[in-house]
């Protein structure tokens, strides 16, 4: 199909959209448009307002100011049922299915046509796409990827003319991502306009036709994808006059593997989601744990941390057997863990920064025996606020009101407050802006200098490359190789992550 943009009809246009929540002005005047056959990649840091914008388009929120036009016709009310009827559908970042209903009931919820007709249409769509899901399964038993599929099917059943995908690949494995891209291309060819929100610049170039960059409630750059280079995109994402990422100290202190003993060891460690993992971490080393979503890395960490059952093997911290210990004892032994999803199980949202920072210390004696030593608590909290350059008005501030990057600093501070010998960081820079990311890298390097051993779980290949002394790559619950520092580069990581052996790679 010829890609002449003159032939494309404008499907959706918003102009002058402003929105604030309480005192927080999220959108400061957005103008955007999507035409048929276009994939508009919408990128921006956390808090830039992308989700808010698409929720307005979807009618879930009302804009304070601004207009929306669909096929040239102005939309006067903002209601999900109206947006749906006009052919807009949003696949949310986190699937919002009905857990106790079946897959089919979920997909067909809200339709008024006859069931039999809907059913056959659904089956046809699934066949066309090559997707196989048991329609009778209850939604709560689906994996995240399967749930996203169900959300996509909802959109396709609705013959959406404008489809909004909010970070659709964040929880998908490689094959599922490829499948998704195939679908997106097909939809694009059939004339649908797609808004594709993503954090991953690579996807912009892979799948996008146009790109728009949002920062701080405004669009800072837009145009055809082919007009941009990666660096230009990154520049548009960062606040102006920012020293491109704080100067990183050269971690040239190489670890003497010959003469030091590893501080943490796993021997044939098996649990739910991983099997026979053997690895070692040395003091002052950053061991990158690379792999795709679904590789079992988080499961490995949570099992070490005592959150899930050990199915086999052993874990040793400095020759002490810590296999299968409950979380409290694991922390006491000298291991701590920063969870993958701070919103879900990391942050105490309505509690103070101080309470958040010291929560891991409550089981020990550092904060007192019965009475809570508030003075000590303040001392420890202020120390971390200072060291990490956390932006908070005081240690009493409610943690939920801090930005994502600062929240992450608090959670990291909590893990470090117990003075662990081994710290496991799980996606420590997920969902935080570039400046905070730089700060977190400095924190990690600072830890390294102090001789703390670090396991760095990350889906960000560049992060692994930049920080790791060695890297272990996991694929589908198995360890696919350990790379030494000079072997670590995106290609080798990618190959190992997809279980491509050297011979295959060379072919």
């Amino acid at each position: 199909m010829a890609d002449s943009s003159e032939n494309r009809t404008e499907l959706l246009r918003v102009s002058g959209i402003r929105k604030q929540f309480g005192l927080n002005i999220v959108l400061k005047g957005i103008d955007l448009s999507v035409s048929s056959g276009e994939v508009l990649a919408l990128i921006g840091g956390n808090g830039a307002g992308k989700s808010t914008l698409v929720k307005i388009i979807m009618g879930i929120y009302q804009p304070d100011e601004g207009k929306m036009f669909l096929n040239g016709e102005e939309i006067t009310a903002f209601r999900p049922s109206l947006s749906l009827s006009k052919g807009i559908y949003m696949v949310p970042q986190e699937p919002m299915l009905f857990p106790n209903m079946s897959v089919e009931e979920n997909i067909l919820a809200g339709f008024s046509e006859k069931h039999a007709e809907l059913h056959s249409r659904l089956v046809k769509i699934m066949d066309d796409m090559g997707w196989h899901i048991d329609l009778t399964r209850k939604a709560l038993s689906l994996s995240i990827a399967e749930q996203q599929l169900v959300e996509l099917l909802r959109g396709m059943m609705r013959n959406a003319k404008v489809l909004i995908l909010d970070e659709p690949t964040s929880a998908l494995t490689f094959d599922e991502v490829e499948s998704l891209f195939k679908t997106v291309r097909k939809l694009k060819e059939s004339g649908i306009g797609i808004i594709y929100i993503t954090h991953r610049l690579a996807e912009v170039f892979e799948i996008g036709t146009n790109v728009a960059i949002m920062r701080d409630g405004l669009i800072t750059a837009e145009g055809k994808v082919e007009q941009f280079t990666r660096d230009q995109l990154v520049k548009a994402l960062l606040p102006p006059n920012m020293d491109t990422l704080a100067v990183r100290e050269d971690a040239s202190s190489a670890i003497d593997y010959e003469h030091t003993k590893p501080i943490f060891r796993l021997e044939n460690f098996s649990g739910y989601g991983f099997e026979n993992i053997s690895l070692e971490v040395y003091p002052g080393e950053i061991l990158g744990i690379a792999g795709l979503v679904g590789a079992g890395r988080t499961e490995l960490a949570t099992t070490i941390f005592g959150r899930d059952k050990v199915l086999g093997g052993k874990a040793y911290l400095e020759d002490r057997d810590v296999t299968g210990l409950p979380t409290q004892k694991v922390i006491a032994a000298g291991i701590n863990y920063v969870t993958e999803d701070r919103r879900l199980d990391g942050l105490f949202k309505i509690s103070s920064v101080a309470a958040n920072t010291t929560s891991s210390l409550l089981s020990g004696t550092e904060l007192g025996k019965t009475v809570l030593n508030k003075k000590k608590e303040t001392e420890i909290t202020l120390k971390y606020i200072r060291e990490f350059k956390t932006k908070a008005t005081s240690e009493e501030q409610e943690a939920g009101s801090l930005s994502g990057g600062n929240q992450q600093k608090i959670v990291i501070g909590r893990a470090l407050a117990t003075n662990p010998k081994l710290v496991i960081l799980d996606e420590p820079t997920r969902g935080i802006d570039a400046a905070a990311r730089g700060d977190v890298y400095n924190i990690i390097l600072g830890l390294k200098k102090q001789g703390v051993a670090i396991m760095l779980i990350s889906s960000d290949m560049e992060e692994i490359v930049e920080l790791s002394d060695r890297a272990v790559v996991m694929y589908q619950g198995h360890e696919k190789g350990t790379l030494q520092k000079k072997e670590i580069n995106p290609t080798s990581l990618m190959n190992a992550s997809f279980d491509v052996t050297d011979s295959e790679a060379a072919a």
Binding site: R79, F98, A109
Partner: protein, 340 residues
């Protein structure tokens, strides 16, 4: 076969089976229990609680709660009974009672859905106010000397020993059950309780649904109140005290989850039958009715613990299965990867 499987998986099936087994056991111990008059008496006696339980089920399905239904029953009954006593036509009295129930329900719904006040607290406050209003209205005195034809209606039988009241109730319950489980709009209640954000996303008017749930709840409570009036024959200022708790218990026994999104009206009705049968059962088994509360409590706890533990177990098992499948897939690495 597929229908049988579906039946077994439905949450109310557990309670139907439980009911059958329970009655069977009692019948074995004392066959007189299973005599038609006796069984009919079980159903007839449950009419007030059935209406209350089904009414509150609308609200619970949406994930909320209403602790004011006992008071709604009391107030609507007090007003209706007073009207009857003072000579109003029956229809007028019933209508006024229903309007009262609907209005209080509306207030509850608006407070919970539009003012975003936690339902327990809002309906708690309303409960206090309405309870007080009953006293104000009746001056603490009993409402008695009701027209004989009204109070005798409770004894009217439709077919055999089945009372008219219960027959009508069954029809109403079945209609509403069909509505909430099979029609598009009726299923909004369960959808809202299952995932309110998801419901918004697919265009379901969640606030209106909740308000409707509360209005229906109030209506059913008022209807229960008028039937209560007929059966008991007089209204005191404490009529309906504590009934909300029994109605909630009936829902839980009938398979409705208090978190919302699971269960059905039929389940609530079955739960109500079970709960009100207990005193009769105790008598037939030779126990004093003093055991009523203890048995209800044990039943409630056992049912809810068993269902929750079983559900949690299956969720954990599921998760473990998915994770294990992933690691096993790795062995056959030439196959298409990803989840199953």
């Amino acid at each position: 076969m597929k229908n049988l499987k579906k039946f077994l998986h439905a949450r109310e099936s557990g309670s139907i089976i439980f009911l059958i087994i329970l009655y069977a056991i009692v019948g074995i111990i004392n066959p007189a229990f299973l005599a038609p008059e006796s069984l009919m008496a079980c159903l007839n006696d449950s009419v007030v609680f059935t209406l209350l339980a089904v009414g509150i089920a609308f609200v619970v399905l949406t994930g909320e709660i209403d602790v004011s239904i006992g008071a709604i029953l009391g107030l609507s009954a007090a007003v209706g009974a007073t009207m009857l006593r003072d000579g109003s036509p029956t229809i007028a009295a019933i209508l006024v009672a229903l309007v009262i129930g609907a209005v209080i329900g509306l207030i509850n719904g608006l407070g919970v859905a539009y003012l975003n006040i936690p339902s327990l607290i809002f309906t708690l406050g309303i409960n206090g106010v309405v309870r007080g209003l009953i006293y104000v209205y009746t001056n603490g005195a009993w409402v008695e000397n009701l027209p004989a034809e009204y109070t005798l209606a409770a004894g009217n039988k439709l077919v055999g020993d089945l009372s008219v009241f219960y027959a009508v109730t069954i029809v109403v319950v079945l209609i509403f059950h069909w509505w909430t489980s099979k029609t598009r709009h009726g299923r909004f209640f369960t959808a809202v309780g299952d995932n309110i954000q998801g419901a918004t996303l697919v265009g379901i008017p969640t606030k209106k649904t909740k308000v409707l749930a509360y209005v229906l709840c109030g209506l059913f409570a008022a209807a229960a109140g008028m039937i209560y009036t007929s059966r008991i024959g007089f209204i005191t200022a404490v009529a309906g005290n504590g009934y909300e708790m029994k109605a909630i218990a009936a829902c839980v026994i009938g398979g409705i989850a208090l978190t919302g999104g699971q269960g059905s009206l039929l389940g609530a009705a079955i739960g109500a039958i079970i709960m009100s049968s207990i005193s009769r059962i105790l008598v037939f088994m030779g126990f004093s009715s003093d055991y009523d509360n203890s048995i209800t409590g044990i039943m409630l706890i056992v049912i809810v613990v068993v269902t929750t533990v079983a559900q949690n177990r299956s969720i954990v098992q599921n998760r473990h299965d998915v994770l294990m499948a992933r690691t096993l897939n790795a062995v056959k690495s030439d196959e298409k990867g990803g989840t199953r």
